[in-house]
């Protein structure tokens, strides 16, 4: 049985949705089956995001530990797998503090507003073939729009906490988010252009050659930009623990802190999934009909590992250097990448407006050269601007103390 309501909805592309819908529809009225099927899918997705956040917390701590020749959490469960649950239980039992003078409503809204876009983002990610919740035809646009909500949430957190450190962190985070949005969007534009679609499912199908090979520079820019937007090292100024305690979530405790942490680590997972879909070919791979989810998880894991690896290795940049890095290095690179891709697509595409695998291979060869050359050129340009930015020391006369001449 089919009813108009279900077959029209964006959810109908989802295979699991169809299964549940048909099962429920066999003995329930049409509208009820429609609602139940939707709720089941949403329930699965919400839990998948939160569980994914927990697994990433655990994985990050374990892998970071091994990077540092430590073991990491290993007390709870096999390999410490239950550590996030123990953490969660501990945080649930903590007192939910609210600082004096805080804006009560905004303060309480923040954790919700941080987790919500994350769950919304998962709606458009294709986990495997026909396993996308909503195959939006403006998927990339949707991702960009929804992910910017988190900057509002961060600023709300900073503002409502009535704490200077939180305000510092929030101001830094918003500055970083806004300036990194531009190169990220520009790098995604290339992807959309090559795939000739904004739907994530179509982008995956267009990747006969993974886009990381076709547009390595766009991937680099996307990775750097996303690690800045997620406040990950080396761009983690918003919560630089040695400078401003914990940044915008300084005043949060208990359940709210747990939610903010979940949003942060879940953000890593979701962004990695998006990167895997856009650049690494998503669920495509050998036997992708059946093992698509495995390829997808594997590629997501690789990107998560990259984030952890950067975090283990690099010190933090200063806020002005981060802005300089964005505007002086990433933005030109993304523009060059975009220009190169535009020209290539213009000259290479066939009459139907699509690119063949051979075209993609040619683009990959050209773009590899372009990437190396422009990274070297702009790297050297920014080097002169940033490292040699020295300042004359301030001379302070010490009264009563003679200055000794030093040869």
């Amino acid at each position: 049985m089919n009813c108009q309501l279900a077959t029209d909805s964006v959810l109908y592309a989802n295979g699991l949705y169809r299964v549940v819908y048909n099962l429920a529809g066999s003995f329930l009225p049409c509208w009820l089956a429609y609602v139940i099927a939707g709720l089941v899918i949403i329930f699965i997705l919400v839990n998948a995001v939160l569980l994914g956040a927990a697994v990433i917390t655990w994985g990050e701590r374990r892998v970071l530990g091994r990077f540092q020749n430590r073991v990491g959490p290993n007390r709870w469960g096999p390999f410490g797998l239950f550590q996030p649950i123990a953490d969660l239980l501990k945080l649930l039992t903590k007192e939910d503090l609210r600082p004096q003078g805080a804006d009560r409503i905004v303060f309480a809204l923040v954790p919700i507003l941080m987790v919500a876009p994350l769950i919304l983002l998962t709606a458009v990610i294709p986990f495997a073939k026909d396993t996308v919740l909503a195959s939006l035809n403006v998927g990339v646009l949707y991702i960009l729009a929804v992910s910017s909500v988190s900057s509002v949430a961060i600023f709300m957190a900073g503002w409502s906490s009535n704490n200077r450190y939180a305000m510092f962190g929030a101001a830094r985070a918003v500055a970083v988010l806004i300036s990194y949005e531009v190169p990220v969007v520009l790098s995604l534009l290339g992807v959309v252009m090559v795939a000739a679609s904004m739907s994530l499912g179509s982008i995956v199908e267009a990747q006969a050659l993974p886009f990381i090979l076709v547009m390595p520079m766009a991937f680099l820019v996307f990775l750097a930009g996303m690690s800045a937007e997620l406040n990950r090292s080396p761009f983690d100024v918003a919560e630089a623990e040695s400078e401003i305690i914990a940044g915008y979530h300084t005043e949060y405790s208990g359940v709210k802190f747990a939610l903010i942490q979940a949003a942060e680590f879940g953000g890593v997972g979701v962004v990695s999934a998006i990167a895997a879909v856009l650049f690494l070919g998503g669920w495509s791979g050998p036997w992708s009909e059946y093992l698509g989810w495995l390829w997808f998880l594997l590629k997501t894991g690789i990107v998560v590992f990259l984030f952890i690896w950067f975090r283990a290795t690099y010190p933090r940049l200063r806020i002005d250097q981060i802005m300089a890095f964005s505007w002086k290095f990433l933005l030109p690179l993304s523009m060059i990448s975009l220009a190169a891709v535009t020209l290539e697509v213009y000259f290479l595409r066939g009459d139907d407006g699509f690119l063949t695998t051979a075209d993609l291979a040619i683009m990959a060869a050209i773009n590899a050269v372009v990437t190396v050359v422009s990274v070297i050129v702009f790297g050297n340009l920014i080097r002169d601007k940033v490292t040699l930015r020295t300042r004359q020391p301030r001379q302070v006369a010490v009264p009563g103390v003679p200055t000794i001449e030093v040869s």
Binding site: V63, G65, R66, F67, Q68, N69, R70, V71, N74, W309, F310, A312, T313, Y314, V375, I376, G379, N380, I382, R383
Partner: protein, 222 residues
């Protein structure tokens, strides 16, 4: 090229990812303690202790409390007193080992224990009964002159690594070869006697012949 060092750093961390962790998972694994370890555990040798309270005097914090009464049975060591009170306030102890170093008869040692956490400060005081009933009996630990060497007095030169058990090491804080563990008390005691201005005994090796061997036997293990 700019950025090369950052890639190098990534390689360093990647290399360390494959390495075995250097941390020790404490309750399951333990690090090997070296023989000189100054632990939170006092091992008292009652037969050797004369109640001279040198340890109490040298203790920088004054946390050792000793009360004695004259003993009826005088041991060959001479002024032997019976100990009534021997309290060590562990909560203030800083484990410098000066009491052990000060003891002229080597009657006090610091063991290897370090898990003496208590919930009350009252329990942190070690009393004479606890010392008597301690799990660990006096042994040859801690006293550096006990670590034997095999004969010759030469020292290692150069850098080549030397196998374990090589005899070319020595140390000898006070001159002369180290003694076996049975004779430990005598050696330090002799040194202590020499240090005293009014020497009661001649500086001959045979004088305190009855101190070591028989008297020390029951308590000694390892």
């Amino acid at each position: 090229m700019y950025g090369l060092a950052m890639v190098k750093g990534l390689m360093v961390t990647l290399k360390n990812l494959t390495r075995k962790p250097f941390t020790v998972q404490y309750p399951e694994e333990r690090v090997r303690q070296h023989p000189r370890f100054r632990g939170e555990e006092f091992v008292w040798y009652e037969e050797r202790c004369t109640g001279c309270a040198s340890c109490a005097k040298y203790c920088p914090l004054g946390i050792i409390k000793i009360e004695t009464s004259p003993s009826g049975s005088a041991l060959p060591q001479g002024d032997k007193y019976r100990l009534e009170v021997f309290d060590i306030e562990l909560q203030r102890c800083m484990f410098c080992g000066l009491c052990v170093e000060a003891c002229p008869y080597d009657a006090l040692f610091m063991g290897s224990g370090f898990e003496q956490g208590q919930y009350s400060r009252k329990n942190m005081v070690i009393t004479i009964d606890q010392l008597r009933n301690a799990e660990k009996h006096p042994s040859t630990w801690f006293r550096p002159q006990l670590e034997g060497y095999e004969g010759e007095t030469s020292i290692r030169r150069g850098t080549p690594t030397i196998a374990q058990g090589d005899s070319r090491f020595t140390y000898d804080p006070r001159g002369g070869p180290p003694l076996g563990w049975r004779e430990v008390g005598r050696e330090a005691w002799r040194w202590h006697q020499r240090e005293k201005a009014g020497m009661r005994l001649e500086d001959s090796p045979e004088t305190p012949e009855t101190v070591g061997g028989e008297a020390t036997e029951p308590g000694a293990d390892d």
